[in-house]
Symmetry: C2
Subunit: 428 residues, 2 copies
């Protein structure tokens, strides 16, 4: 182990995990660091939040993946990264300090509240499995309590949902809430009149799914309308306080649950021993070999990579596909000791679902909408899920949901608050 060069990988998302999978474990001593002990699946977090899928079906333990490497060559270390010392070539987590020969930053992005940091304590987000579970519990809890409430005005306040952001995440969670209002409410919560639930979506630009085709945007708008989602374009949220959302035009809307999908920024990582700082969007500026400019032996891949090319002057889109391809690309480079050619992104298109059985998909020249787009969406996501068990689980759930709306998963499950953890090694 000592003789081999050590590659430390920060983050086990699509980028980090695909790097681990393809790194030569005879050549390197590999350490994957992540604050969770599993690989999550961001494209489906919204289905966790809407009780459509169970968190365990879209999570895969890193240790199962690493077992495929010989244990002495690949290790998983749990921990949140606290800092990188580029002079001493060390990474520090809440638990330990790790020396590295090569460091790969694949830490992804976190929510961006655009200079409104205290929003983190007031809005719900969908950037991690844990955040999605929290949102799920809040939605279910509100339905349960609204079902007990006799005052219609209070009931409407309890069920006033606002989704901020019209990208895939915003459109998908808004669609799922629309399904709840349109189809599930009268079955599971007969006490709640449908009109008491309101779902408003606010998007700053003039269309939904800006990254996709005009056709996709138009279809998404129509489909969300059919699911009783009130879509408001060209509106930016200025603030949210005391259950009041304030828009840029001064308009004030009462809402008790805001789901924030409006923006991301690279996960902040303090660095010492260098004056290299993350660039726009908190992303590390790299050369065409994913190497961070101005640093040796440090690479950035996935959402946190910012590589400016003629075709992508603002960097590659922050999509799973880019992360997967960069992970594989960097593995090749490190395995062969040098990057023979520049990284180039092969765009396989993008898609988003609206509700239970509709979607929009841009696949190169082909624009799919409705049911067929949804089938394509299902297929693509199933093959990208890690583990046969998860694939089967998710497929069964979707088939089930197609007929039953998956109300089997509308469970308000939370860890109990006791005991307060007592060990001297606790994170507190």
């Amino acid at each position: 182990m000592g003789s081999k060069e050590r590659v430390v990988i920060l983050g086990g998302g699509f980028a980090g995990l695909n790097l681990v999978k393809h790194l030569d474990n005879d050549k390197f001593d590999i350490i994957l660091v992540d604050k969770n002990n599993y690989h999550g699946f961001p494209p489906l977090f919204y289905q966790v939040a809407s009780s459509g899928l169970d968190p365990t079906s879209i999570s895969f333990p890193f240790r199962r993946e690493l077992r495929k490497h010989r244990p002495e060559n690949a290790h998983f270390h749990i921990g949140e990264v606290k800092g990188i010392d580029t002079t001493r070539q060390e990474v520090t987590t809440e638990y330990e300090t790790l020396p590295y020969d090569h460091l790969v930053i694949a830490a992804g992005t976190t929510n961006n509240f655009f200079g409104n940091p205290d929003l983190i304590e007031r809005v719900f987000t969908l950037k991690s499995t844990d955040e999605a579970i929290r949102a799920r519990n809040e939605i279910l809890d509100r339905c349960e309590r609204a079902a007990l409430e006799h005052d219609p005005d209070i009931r409407r306040k309890m069920l006033s949902f606002v989704v901020v952001g019209g990208g895939p995440a915003g459109v998908e969670i808004a669609g799922a809430l629309g399904e709840l209002k349109r189809y599930i409410l009268k079955r599971d919560y007969p006490e709640i009149p449908q009109e008491d639930m309101t779902i408003r979506l606010y998007e700053g630009s003039d269309r939904l799914l800006r990254a996709m085709s005009e056709k996709a945007s138009a279809t998404a708008l129509k489909d969300l309308g059919n699911l009783m989602v009130d879509v408001n374009l060209n509106h930016v949220i200025k603030n949210y306080d005391n259950n009041i959302v304030t828009l840029d035009d001064g308009q004030e809307i009462y809402t008790e649950m805001v789901i924030w999908t409006a923006g991301v920024t690279g996960s902040p990582i303090p660095m010492s021993g260098t004056d290299v700082k993350p660039g726009p969007g908190g992303r590390f500026i790299t050369d065409s070999h994913c190497k961070v400019k101005g640093l040796d032996n440090i690479y950035a891949i996935g959402d946190i990579n910012l590589c400016i090319t003629d075709k992508y002057p603002r960097g590659y889109p922050q999509l799973a596909q880019v992360a997967i391809q960069q992970g594989r690309y960097l593995a090749k480079c490190l395995n062969s000791g040098t990057c023979v050619k520049d990284f180039s992104y092969v765009d396989k298109g993008s898609m988003a679902t609206i509700g239970r059985n509709r979607a929009v998909a841009d696949l190169h020249k082909v624009h799919l909408t409705g049911f067929f787009a949804w089938l394509a969406w299902m297929f693509i996501h199933l093959i990208s899920l890690l583990g046969m068990r998860n694939k089967i689980n998710v497929l069964l759930n979707w088939i089930w949901a197609y007929f039953t709306y998956n109300t089997a998963l509308r469970l308000l499950l939370k860890g109990s608050k006791y005991p307060k953890r007592g060990s001297m090694w606790d994170k507190g």
Copy 2:
């Protein structure tokens, strides 16, 4: 609705749910009150704690069950019961006050710390799905952190587990931890030497599974030994503080995770308008018709029922079978307006698993052990699980586990701590 007599049922466990299922919903306005929105499955909580099963596979939403009744006749109300006013015939929960004509207390039991109430903040328990999730996360977190620890002494402290109580719950969770030590550790945590993990079980009496046959006790003792569990009989825990367990003989044992299965007591429910108090074990003393002695229109069924008979001078055993049978019995009584005969418990035997594929079962004269007892145990639990989806899920998981040890579920999933909940109707 107003015209019909209202039956309010406190608790949707085996007793409450079976009552709901069999109550005549043309005759009664039925309200089921529970603090969770789902029916949990206590016999399998230990498998949630040991990552063998996913909480969603053993939970069933009450609203799905109630849909079978006509909605206007059966309702689910979420809420924790705060008190019963027998004069005004009202139940108060954290959210509302409910008038009743007939009240059925099926609130079950909670952990009993035998005059050591502050233990609740120091030990882990398995009396609810949420408690089991908490225990699961703690066990996984300890394994992950021990895998990073270089000091063997600290590692051993992190992995020093104590199970208190040698009943089914204690034996089953100890067995599951034994599986972890014996089979899973070297596969998933190659960094942790097996001997660094210790599992100690303390039982006050002179044998495990006291309620079962001598043969079952002896087999359980042997099987736990094979799973490297250090079983200590005739030992009572006096205290647990600063990671030190103190036994009745003054012995002190260092442990950082205590799983408490040593005793239960009826869930406390403040009552006004009467001086009737719960009897021994916090259970309500009832006549042979499950009617609480000294109270009109108030019944107690399941673990919280205490009905003294010649055959059961200390009340019926607190088992799922009794609860199920009492729920059905009381439904008959209420439907027909009178109890034609006394409740009598048909003992179908009892069983417990030890580890992945062994069990002990006392079925009348038949005493099964090992693999066949395990098959019987699986069968019985599968048929008692609510919902085809859950039955299939659990069966697939068990088949999977039999070959793979289910490491797919070793996921450290917890709800995120943000946002702090802001609505004026929040429980705070």
